[in-house]
């Protein structure tokens, strides 16, 4: 048998490794295409977590905003929270959707960790979440001034993710 034949398995493996390597570096797996991109934010009529007043979609539109889906049962949301506070202090408009959560717990959370949100929608049954196609928290939507969803990010917002999202956010009207 020719020894060069014995190198074939190695060759195949190297080829596969290269594919994986590029696959990993290629894109952020969390930016899955959402069918909602470039579609209007769904209509809703829910109450605000902080003061129980009724709000609708009209209360969100007017200026570009982030809509952040979070919950107290979600550890990643806690990691993300500090960064949201920072964004809010930079003047980014953030609305929250408190998703499948307990109102009291959520209020406690905001009291203890700070409140980066203009206000929060209380969505204890996850109705709005369902319409938004949320499959885990945290998720963040970029909504423009006309109420059109321009981007969606699954997982926590952090400085690295924000680098790219920021450009999109600032380009929105």
């Amino acid at each position: 048998m020719n020894r060069s034949l014995l190198f074939i398995p190695l060759g195949i493996f190297v080829l596969m490794a290269v594919v994986f390597w590029i696959g990993l570096g290629q894109e952020d797996k969390t930016s899955l295409p959402s069918p909602l991109i470039d579609h209007p934010f769904p209509e809703f009529s829910l109450t605000v977590l902080e003061d129980s007043r009724a709000v609708t979609k009209a209360d969100i539109v007017g200026a570009p905003a982030l809509v952040n889906v979070w919950a107290t049962w979600c550890p990643t949301c806690k990691q993300e929270h500090t960064f949201l506070n920072e964004l809010a202090s930079q003047g980014v408009r953030i609305f929250g959707i408190n998703y499948k959560d307990n109102d009291e717990k959520a209020k406690d959370w905001l009291m203890s960790f700070g409140n980066p949100y203009i206000w929060n929608l209380s969505d204890p049954n996850g109705q709005l979440g369902l319409e938004l196609g949320v499959y885990g928290a945290p998720e963040t939507f970029l909504v423009d001034s006309k109420g059109i969803i321009r981007a969606k990010h699954i997982g926590d917002l952090n400085p690295k993710v924000w680098q790219t999202l920021k450009l999109q956010f600032e380009a929105m009207e």
Binding site: M1, N2, R3, L6, F7, P9, L10, F13, V14, M16, A17, V19, F20, W21, I22, G23, L24, G25, Q26, D28, K29, T30, L32, P33, A71, W73, C74, P75, K78, K100, D101, G126, G155
Partner: protein, 664 residues
């Protein structure tokens, strides 16, 4: 004292670091010993492996302790457990997510090293040194990975949460307590076969002795894999709530591929041990099997393929694992390319011989594994080429898997009774043609009588499994010359093989029947109403609520009648887990050897009515029963006397070698 207890996570981490140090020494010292021919250095391999295993156990128990006492200052505990979780689930939550699974993985690697160190007393010391050094290398990589990217002991300080999140409700189940550890034992166990192969390559001693040492270890890992896969399938069946038992999910594929290759390896090792043939091929299979285990870890852990199981979608971890995989697989394949023997093996065999059948078996198994590998990786490659996201459906896998496994079953039936070196188709044919005809006739007539219709797939599935069963019994009959009392004398190895092959037949029957004759019905059913499915009448007896420790559920009790006789009472539940707010369906299943009745709850409708899914699944149990047969067969084979008898002889030989080494 309490302060000391509060430091348990730090002890755990420290133990993990010590384990890393032991593993590093376990690589270096024995190899230096081998290089210098110094047995006293090689002798360090065993104690170091023991130390490593001990520290890993301390580390794992520390993490379990943090879970049991609800130490939410540990981030991993806070994310995966809460005070309301029942204690057994707190313990299983240890491996409920990425970091803990990995710790379990390395601990098992440590335990396998420990087992090799203490159960292979008969091996020459230089071989043990090499084997343990190779296993040490794998440990070094994975402990480092755990410490660097996935430390389960990281703290949430200074603000420790008062209450934790929750274990993924999918995973709050007996199945999760046993399934991942069993599967991991299998995955990691293949590292032993791998280490033996690499050690043999390093030493240049690829001989029958190597194959004999390696065989029981490979069988042990294979048994764990078999049981682990069956448990996973069983768990998905009753826990996911839609009555499926195999989904061609990437993670399932990740466990099936190493199993297929390990099965090939077992058979190839038989040839290498008995006839000294296929050495290079056997080594390649050992490398391939372990690589697939690692690839499984990579696929599941990196989030490259997203699936229900991918707890951790973290590209940085992915890159680390890829690097590990690259070094481990690339390195061993390079070693293989340089050192594998190129000389054609001395033994000859004819076109019709046991060797040839085993070769065919190996080729089929490897082709099936490759087909699954391609199906699993294809979506990734497709995406990578910029062609968009897609998934390869179950249809593709079935198209590949079914015909190849049918072919395999046919080969197994004939191959098991063939002779080494040279056999004749005439001899095998004379013994087996009645079995073939009987199988086909039975497979056509029985379904015709019972269901009144003829399905091609049923005929195919039943004929091969009956063929395999008959061929196996004919072989036992011939070998025992028709006397039952002689059967035990045929040897454990042989009986193990027989049992495992019967297991394959049993599983094929199960798969065929359940795939072709399952019936199901989605119905709206109100209290007091009845629904008929096949021969069974399901009656909605009572609806209500149940409060569990960390969930509340809607429950419905069903009475099931067959011929107006009450045969079973089933309680299906739909649970809402409070901490995460997620909803899980607990299907109610009435089990018997020939059929499962499966009831799962859908959505609540008006007036106390529910949307329900009723299913009758014939021969469902056979799918897993076959796996149990195979595992028991493997166990019998491991008990074979020759592994121990020859081991005794080796003790003296090894001692001689040791003395020789000292004198030299």
């Amino acid at each position: 004292m309490t302060e000391l207890y509060s430091m348990v996570p730090e002890f755990g981490q420290l133990a993990l670091i010590f384990a890393f140090v032991c593993a590093a020494f376990q690589v270096v010292i024995p190899l230096v010993g081998v290089n210098r021919g110094a047995p006293w250095l090689m002798a360090y391999a065993r104690p170091l492996a023991t130390g490593q295993a001990l520290f890993l156990l301390i580390s794992l128990f520390s993490l379990a302790y943090c879970f049991v006492v609800d130490d939410f200052s540990v981030a991993y505990v806070a994310a995966n457990s809460n005070t309301a979780l029942p204690t057994p689930f707190k313990i299983s939550a240890v491996w409920g997510a990425h970091e803990g699974s990995l710790l379990l993985w390395v601990t098992m690697l440590g335990l396998w090293s420990l087992a090799v160190a203490w159960l292979s007393k008969s091996l020459p010391i230089d071989m043990i040194a090499r084997v343990l050094a190779v296993m040490g290398m794998v440990s070094v990589g994975f402990i480092l990975f755990t410490l660097e990217t996935s430390n389960p002991f990281s703290r949430h300080l200074p603000s420790a949460p008062a209450e934790g999140g929750d274990l993924n409700p999918l995973l709050q189940d007996f199945g999760l307590i046993v399934h991942p550890p069993t599967l991991y034992m299998g995955y990691v166990g293949l590292s032993v076969a791998f280490a033996f192969a690499i050690a043999a390559l390093m030493s240049g001693r690829l001989d029958a002795a190597w194959a004999r040492w390696s065989r029981p270890w490979t069988t042990a890992a294979w048994i764990f894999l078999t049981v682990g896969i069956a448990l996973g399938s069983w768990w998905a069946y009753y826990e996911l709530g839609w009555g499926g038992w195999w989904f061609w999910d990437p993670v399932e594929n990740a466990s099936l591929m190493p199993w297929l290759v390990a099965t090939a390896l077992l058979h190839s090792l038989a040839v290498t041990e008995k006839r000294g043939l296929f050495k290079s091929w056997t080594v390649l299979l050992a490398i391939f099997a372990f690589s697939l285990s690692l690839l499984g870890t990579f696929l599941v852990r990196s989030g490259v393929l997203t699936s229900v199981h991918a707890f951790a979608s973290d590209p940085e971890r992915g890159i680390f694992i890829l690097a590990l995989l690259g070094i481990c697989v690339g390195g061993s394949l390079l070693l293989y390319a340089i050192k594998a023997p190129t000389v054609a093996s001395s033994g000859r065999f004819e076109l019709v011989s046991r060797e040839m059948f085993l070769l065919l078996n190996n080729l089929l198994l490897v082709v099936i594994a490759l087909a699954i590998l391609i199906g699993t990786l294809y979506p990734l490659v497709y995406d990578f080429m910029g062609l968009g996201k897609l998934s390869v459906g179950a249809a593709w896998f079935n198209t590949m898997f079914v015909p190849l496994s049918v072919g395999l079953a046919v080969v197994v039936g004939a191959g098991a009774m063939s002779r080494w070196k040279v056999d004749s188709l005439g001899r095998i044919g004379t013994m087996l043609w009645p079995a073939a005809i009987a199988a086909i006739v039975f497979a056509i007539i029985t379904p015709m009588i019972i269901s009144g219709e003829l399905k091609g797939m049923v005929v195919l599935g039943l004929s091969v499994s009956i063929w395999l069963t008959l061929a196996t019994f004919i072989d036992v009959w011939k070998k025992s010359r028709g006397q039952i009392t002689r059967i035990p004398n045929l040897g454990m190895s042989y009986l193990g093989m027989i049992l495992a092959h019967l297991g394959v037949a049993v599983t094929i029957v199960g798969v065929t029947m359940v795939a072709n004759y399952s019936t199901e019905k989605s119905v709206r059913i109100a209290p007091g109403e009845r629904e008929t499915l096949g021969d069974y009448v399901f009656e909605f007896a009572q609806g209500g609520h149940i409060t569990g420790p960390n969930y509340t559920s809607d429950a419905v009790r069903f009475n099931v009648y067959e011929d107006d006789k009450l045969i079973s009472t089933l309680m299906a539940e739909k649970r809402r887990y409070t901490a995460r707010g997620s909803v899980m369906t607990e299907a109610a299943i009435d089990v018997s050897l020939f059929r499962d009745l499966y009831v799962s709850m859908g959505e609540p409708l008006d007036n106390g009515a529910w949307g329900m899914r009723l299913q009758v699944k014939p021969f469902m149990r056979w799918v897993w029963l076959g796996a149990i047969f195979m595992a028991c067969g493997g166990f019998l084979a491991m008990l074979d006397k020759r592994y121990r008898r020859r081991a005794d002889k080796k003790v003296t030989a090894a001692k001689g070698a040791e003395l020789g080494g000292v004198n030299a």
